[in-house]
Symmetry: C2
Subunit: 335 residues, 2 copies
């Protein structure tokens, strides 16, 4: 959106539903009344409902349900995250777009948001179901001062930020949990997927792209068959829609805090917050490891470096560095 239209929108928003005269808008922005009218028309084309009031004034009646930069950034209380937002109506994958932007030099905190994805990426090359206009799909470019060896805990840290944003939104933190490494479950069902893609140069992380998908307003009943029992959305859980832009802003603020803390003091400083949402300990799990190996056992707590500990049925404790965890429904045979 053009700067002028954004400034008119800001002024209308600040008026809080009260009408603004075209003359006062023109004066405040240093433009003509005709230009104000053109900006208002631009806003209307973008989906903003702007009422003309008697005497040539304007009133903001309704904002469109879109994750436009001007919506995400309105009152956004971050220091560096999402100060640049690239909005896409429909794209193949926000992670792919953000990766390209990162390689082209996009700054720390650069944010790509799409209303829908045709090829949303999940871990292990799986797809992430991404219907348009209902959820949040965002990928953020980060350029941390980070050793490659510290990257695995950043994956867990990102899960903490999403879990806290989800908990804030539903108002019931006890129903939210993190499944290692960073799936966020609500009432036992997956609501969020996080895919971190990073480029390392030698022993350091060069840049990374943190892709976050959160099921907000999608109806569980519309999920593909394979996800219907295991996934949910915040709206399906709450029984009412959530405001997507407000959720995104809350997530960005939380995430910025988590990332800054991880950078300054490491995962140890986030450990109590991670542990609050970590409810896998003692539960039977199956892990599919890279290369196809399959590990069954009982989940223990992760190590300080982010590796998951699993006690096999023969009693041996195995460290899992990477893998896909399935929480088993069966009761555990051994205590």
């Amino acid at each position: 959106m053009k700067d002028g239209a954004a400034r008119v929108l800001e002024a209308l928003r600040e008026a809080g539903g009260r009408p603004c005269s075209g003359g006062s808008l023109a004066e405040a922005l240093g433009v003509t009344r005709a230009q104000v009218w053109k900006h208002v028309e631009a806003l209307r084309r973008r989906g903003y409902e702007v009422e003309g009031t008697p005497g040539g004034g304007y009133r903001l009646v309704c904002v469109p349900d879109r994750l436009y930069p001007e919506e995400l950034q309105a009152g956004l209380a971050t220091r560096w995250l999402a100060h640049e937002v690239e909005w896409l109506d429909l794209t193949d994958s926000t992670n792919r777009v953000a990766g390209e932007r990162a390689r082209a030099g996009a700054p720390h905190g650069y944010c790509v948001v799409a209303e829908g994805q045709t090829a949303g990426r999940g871990r292990q090359g799986r797809s992430f179901f991404s219907p348009p206009y209902l959820n949040l799909y965002t990928s953020i470019v980060l350029r941390p001062e980070l050793a490659l060896a510290e990257a695995p805990t950043l994956i867990l840290a990102a899960g903490v930020a999403v879990a806290e944003a989800v908990a804030d939104c539903v108002g019931d933190p006890q129903k939210v949990e993190v499944k290692w490494p960073n799936d966020v479950l609500l009432g036992g069902r997956k609501t969020s997927g996080i895919l971190m893609e990073l480029v390392a140069e030698g022993t350091r992380v060069g840049h990374l792209v943190l892709g976050i998908g959160v099921n907000l307003n999608v109806d569980r009943a519309t999920f593909p068959e394979e996800f219907r029992e295991t996934a949910t959305s915040l709206a399906s859980y709450l029984g009412r829609p959530v405001e997507r832009a407000a959720f995104a802003r809350r997530l960005f603020v939380t995430l910025e805090g988590v990332l800054d803390l991880h950078a300054a003091r490491g995962f140890a400083a986030l450990r109590p917050r991670f542990d609050f949402f970590y409810r896998m300990a003692g539960r039977p799990i199956v892990v599919s490891e890279p290369g196809g190996a399959r590990l069954e056992g009982v989940a223990l707590a992760p190590d300080a470096d982010g590796a998951l500990n699993v006690r096999r049925h023969d009693g041996e404790v195995v460290r899992v560095l990477a893998g896909d965890v399935t929480l088993s429904a069966r009761a555990e045979a051994r205590p």
Copy 2:
């Protein structure tokens, strides 16, 4: 190079300097004598010296000093490494090219070789001096089944492979050492730089590009001022040139073995070979860490996860995950 020319070259090479008649070549390849002649002309244009012998035969007199695929692959005893080689006369950076090929789907072991680089990359965004036709600049695409947390030790493992290839070539392993994480020094001077760039997806490595530059025949006296005292080449050390293609083949075989062992049994299996070349223990060093912090102390052995241990002057042992090490010339003040 076209297939036909490659097959003529192979036949001439197999003849070991003895002449091959045009008729026997034509018969062996199932083509006409005129086509054999065209292939020979193609070889000559590429720099191969092929002598016409009385009676219409051909004899391979001299191969060009180029790292052509047909030179690198002649008798190459690898199972998967460098079975596809992309040769470039001059490029900006083999790592950039290989990264693009990897993103486009290049297979495990795909190899980019350039005679020279205009923007050879080193760690921390530094440049790698890359004059043409004298050294080896190669970048290899790898698609390992690897957890992100295991990647740091792969950086060390790559250094072992280069150190062994250098040691084989100069015939004096005691003069070769690895400076953490993976610079290879010969007689105390740097001969090789390795830059690993990887793309991780979640907790796993998606693909990685292993860039290796080795100073082979460049004259030390031609180095830029800043490197002249601290860098050398195999030829400057030996006082005679080395055969570049032969060095590359030896490196590829060694590297393949190292990578397969790392994949199968982890860095622990390579540890004795790493330790042979690790001669930093007990020496005073300065480490520049990400973010600009500076650490002085005495180098100890690396941990099993690849982190360098440094004993500070106050006695505390610090783990270094990433950083740039300078070996100090000063004698250590404390025992």
